[in-house]
Every structure is written in C-alpha cells, then in structure tokens.
C-alpha cells in the first residue's frame, strides 16, 4: 500500500500537435487538502480531467487506494466516489437548481410508482437541495425551482460546489472554485473545503489565488510544462518561492515527494 488515496503515474495527453500533459505524476494523501498550482496552460485542468474520467490519458496509470483503475467517463469516477467541480461548472442552464443538484443520481419515490415506474420524489430532492445550499450559506436564492440560467456567475459556482461537497465520498476535486466568487462567497467556499476535510475527505484544489492556497493547503503540487515539478509544504516555503517555481524563475532544491 502506497498510503495514497489517489495516485497517477506518467500521465500523458496529446491534442494533435499540443502536448497538454507530458508524463505527469500526482498523489493525494488521505484527509489532506492538496493544492495544484501552475501557470496558465500548464495542464492543470487536463490533469484534473484525467483524474475524474472526463479525459482519457494516452499513457500512464491511475491508482485508487493503491488499486489500478481506469475511468471511461465522469460517471465511473463519480461512482468510485470522486466528485469534481469543473472550471466550466457542468450545469444545465434550462433545468432547475434542484434538478442540477441531483443530475444523474435522481431520487425515486419509495412507493410503487417510484419503484416500478421510476417516478421521482421531487419534494424530497427539493428539500435536500435547499438544505445543502443553506448549509453552505452560499445561497441568496429563494426559489429552488429557479432555472440555473437566471443565476449570476457566482451563484452558479455556488451550486456546483455545493453539489460536489454534498455527494463526494472519496475525493473532492475543485478546479478554481473561487475564481468567479466574491469575498464573502470565497470565504464560505474555503470554510466548506475545511469542513469537508474535517469529515475525513481529501480535497484537490486548483487555484491561482496564492493567499487562499497558502491559507488552507496541506501540500502544494506545482505543475509546470505539463508535468509535476515538485510538491512543497506551504509552511516551509513562501508564496514568492512558489510563484518563482511555477514560472520557472527559480528551481526547487529538494526533489518532489
């Protein structure tokens, strides 16, 4: 046992002439918050998509709890307990907030109608969705049946984060969850991340916001030119070190763990 929840070795992904990932390694320990930082175009989003089944790497292996896995679709990753908030959010604009929260794992009614005809239990889904959003404190929304397309960018982000936090059982991955959020909402998301960790779940956080990263990350994975450059401990390195590594201005001394 490697002791890692999620592990990747030598992931490579080419898009025609562009190599988005070039032998990337990755590992995530139980119960930790791992931040992934890197320049624009370094390949962070591609790495995350490979971990969550949205992209199939050309080469390389994925290990979940030490066992090799292969996710052919986001659904398979989700069924394995890996919940992801993508940069593009993955919400359906014309559906309601509650429909979006339960997309792909709708609740059926307990009675015959539900068991035999698959009739949904809308009341229960609405109630749970409202609970989750209130819990998150992100919501300034009165109507859970409102269509997502009528929400502001920040409100949408809130829905996506709430969905991942509510359903993740093994790993929660967040790709720039606070990019579009205001100060108060960002704060809530950070609190939520800490909250999820306290439930014992490990979290992968991609962010360009160095103060946020240094505030909550246990370890920081620095990505550069399509692969992992190093992993640093935020208590042993300064923000400016991290930025220097990221941009190639300086090389880290120690070798990546």
């Amino acid at each position: 046992m490697s002791g890692y929840v999620l592990e990747a070795r030598g992931l490579t992904k080419r898009y025609g002439r562009v190599t988005a990932m070039d032998g990337a390694d990755f590992d995530l320990r139980p119960g930790e918050i791992l931040a992934v930082i890197g320049d624009n175009g370094a390949g962070k989003s591609t790495l995350i998509k490979a971990l969550s089944g949205a992209v199939q790497p050309d080469e390389g292996d994925l290990l979940l709890d030490g066992k090799p896995v292969r996710f052919a679709s986001p659904l398979e990753a989700r069924q394995a307990g890996i919940e992801t908030v993508y940069q593009t959010l993955a919400l359906s604009p014309a559906l309601s907030i509650s429909d979006n929260m339960f997309m792909g794992r709708e609740l059926r009614r307990g009675d015959l109608l539900g068991r035999w005809l698959g009739i949904l239990d809308r009341a229960r889904m609405d109630r749970i969705a409202r609970e989750k959003l209130t819990e998150l404190g992100l919501m300034t929304i009165q109507n859970i049946g409102q269509k997502v397309e009528t929400l502001s960018g920040g409100q949408r982000q809130g829905i996506a984060v709430a969905r991942a936090a509510a359903f993740g059982s093994r790993v929660v991955i967040l790709d720039e969850p606070t990019a579009a959020l205001g100060v108060k909402e960002s704060r809530r998301v950070l609190d939520l991340i800490l909250d999820v960790r306290s439930r014992g779940l490990p979290i992968v956080l991609i962010s360009h916001n160095m103060p946020h990263v240094f505030e909550i990350a246990d370890r920081i994975h620095i990505h550069r030119l399509g692969r992992r450059l190093c992993v640093i401990n935020p208590r042993e390195h300064s923000m400016s070190d991290a930025v220097a590594y990221m941009t190639g201005a300086k090389m880290p001394e120690g070798v990546a763990a």
């Binding site: 949205a54 679709s73 986001p74 659904l75 989700r78 992801t84 993508y86 593009t88 959010l89 993955a90 919400l91 359906s92 604009p93 014309a94 559906l95 429909d99 979006n100 997309m103 792909g104 794992r105 709708e106 059926r108 005809l117 698959g118 009739i119 949904l120 809308r122 300034t140 009165q142 502001s152």
Partner: protein, 342 residues
C-alpha cells in the same frame, strides 16, 4: 439577493398595455402559446368556414391528425435532445409494410406480425441511435442517410404494392384495430386518436416525472455539461432514438387503421409535417426547451388549418401559402413572448 422586487410588487409600479399583459402571461405560462393559437384559429375558421364547428368536422380533424400527431411525439423526443429525425415517416411506412407483408401476405398470426412491425421500428431507431452515438454523426445527417436507406427497404419489401383493405379484413383484421371508432355525444373518435393521446400522456409522465426525462432535457440543453455531470449521454440518446422508433412502429399500426390498407406510397410528406407540428408546438430546435404537450396542440393546429381552408374551398396553392405563414407566425409569436427576458 437581487430578486428583491418580486413580480407582485413590480406589477404595481409598471403600467402595462393589455398586449404587454398578455405577453407577460404567456411568458409565465409558455405552454399556453400553442393553446391560444389553436383557440384563435378554431374561432376564426368557425366564423368563416361553413360546418367547421360541427362535432362531425371537429372529430374528423382529430382523426386526420392522429397519425402525424403520433409521429410528432416521436419527433419531439429527438428534437428535445437537440437532434432531428428526418426518417420518422420512412420508419413508419417501413414498419407498416412489415406488418402487412407478414400478417397478410405470409400468413403470420396478426399479433406476431404487428409485434414484428413494431420491433422493426425499434430496430430502425436503434440504427439511428447507434450512428449518432457511436460514430458521432450529427442527427440531421444520420437520418438524411437512413431516410434513403429505409425508403429503399420499403421498395424492396413491398415490391411497390399496396395491400388491400379487403385482404387485410380477411387475413388479419387486427391490423386495422386503430381504425375502429366509437361515438361520444356527436363526436366520433377512433382508437387511433386515443393511441395518439396515450403516447403523449406516457411521454408527459416520462419526461416530467422520471430521471430519464430530466436527463433527456439536460442533454438537449448542454450535452457536455450533462456528460461531465455524470449522465451517460450515449445511453440516454440511444434510448431516445429507440423510443422514437418504437413510437413510429405504433404509428404504423395506427396508419393501417387510418388508411385502411398498407400503402407504401402514403405519408410521403409526414416527416416535414411532424417537424412542423413540433415547432408550432413551441419545442426549440436547439433542444432542451419546450413541453411535450406542445406538439400535440401543434399537430391539431395544422389539422385545423388544413381542414378550415379545405372547407373554404381554397386552392391547394393557398393552403401551401397559409401553412408557410402559419409556421412563421407561430414561431414569431413564441419569440415575441420570450423577448421580455433577453
């Protein structure tokens, strides 16, 4: 947070003309748009066309609409996923030819022949679905291709021959089940009309109250988002095309009842007619938006126009003309209503 001015308050300080009030009402209940168009056109034709409002004529319209309406239900499913199915008419004719060939010409027991025809529709839907999901061909192109293929099969199987009504009566009267009628207070309703209503009712429940329905809408709305959210897009899409094929198979059975014979040349235009019904019914061709009740009303609207113009004794030329404007005006009204939110 910004919705601090709910509509109730807004209505006090915003003066509205009656037209604007109507616009707001319809915006809130968009499914009422086709209903309104229907009411207006029924009243309109009632005023000018003799006999139009007789129960006899009104039930005739329903009978005439039953087959295309059933096809429109199949078409709606596909259009809700942002696709389009140019082959619905061809699949229906193919399925009815299979039923006739087996049940009348080859002496297979009627229930088996009908089952085979319906399965043939299902299989045609499966082919469309596989091409769309596995080869990732745009639905328009896929069904443009299979349209040609299915018509070729119709020619091949039917040998271009109609199977006569009397021969069906002798060998397999069950094929004409949906042509049977009953009276209800002056109205004459065929079983085919009931089939159409039943198909829409089932789809209403499936689309609005089951997970499958939510997924159909989600895929039509934003396929990529749906996939990332963990929906098995290909499986759902395949099921949609298969359901559409199945409904075409049922429509085939209904068509035999309506026409009385198995006719490879009938319903050549039914594909465009089904699309017309769907768009007049307010389902967006871009997918993900619109209620399944719309196409039912849309099909009836087209039937009302055709019947009304015929009763007025207008040349077909002007029927074409009117249908053209009907399509444009119905969708323009729809756009006008949506305008307040953009």
């Amino acid at each position: 947070m910004s919705q601090t001015t709910p509509a109730e308050v807004a209505q006090f300080h915003v003066r509205r003309t009656p037209l604007e009030s109507l616009q707001h009402f319809l915006h809130r209940y968009p499914t009422m748009v086709p209903v309104l168009v229907l009411i207006v056109s029924v009243i309109g034709f009632g005023l000018v066309a003799p006999n139009f409002l007789s129960p006899f004529n009104l039930s005739l319209i329903l009978q005439q609409v039953a087959v295309v309406g059933t096809l429109a239900a199949a078409q709606s499913l596909v259009i809700l996923t942002a696709g389009i199915d140019l082959s619905v008419g061809a699949v229906m004719v193919l399925a009815s030819v299979v039923m006739g060939k087996l049940g009348v010409e080859m002496g297979v027991p009627a229930p088996l022949a009908i089952l085979a025809g319906i399965l043939c529709g299902l299989a045609a839907g499966w082919v469309n679905g596989m091409l769309v999901t596995r080869l990732r061909l745009p639905p328009f192109i896929t069904t443009l291709g299979t349209l040609n293929i299915f018509i070729a099969l119709v020619y091949y199987l039917s040998d271009r021959n109609t199977i006569r009504s009397q021969d069906i009566d002798a060998a397999a009267p069950l094929l004409k089940l949906f042509g049977n009628k009953f009276q209800a207070g002056g109205f004459v309703i065929t079983w085919g009309v009931l089939l159409m209503l039943a198909v829409f009712a089932v789809l209403y429940v499936a689309l609005n109250m089951t997970a499958w329905g939510k997924r159909v809408y989600a895929i039509g709305d934003d396929t990529e988002a749906a996939a990332l959210a963990g929906i098995q897009v290909n499986r759902v899409l395949l099921s949609v095309y298969m359901a559409a094929g199945l409904i075409c198979g049922l429509a085939a059975w209904s068509a035999i009842g309506r026409v009385g014979s198995v006719s490879p040349t009938s319903f050549a235009e039914s594909n465009l007619e089904s699309i017309t019904a769907v768009v007049i019914g307010g389902i967006s061709l871009f997918g993900g938006r619109g209620s399944i009740t719309g196409p039912l009303i849309g099909a009836i609207i087209v039937g009302v126009f055709n019947s009304g113009l015929r009763l007025l004794g207008v040349d077909v030329l002007w029927q074409l003309f009117a249908t053209g404007w009907l399509i444009i005006i119905a969708v323009a009204v729809d756009q006008w209503i949506r305008k307040i939110s953009s």
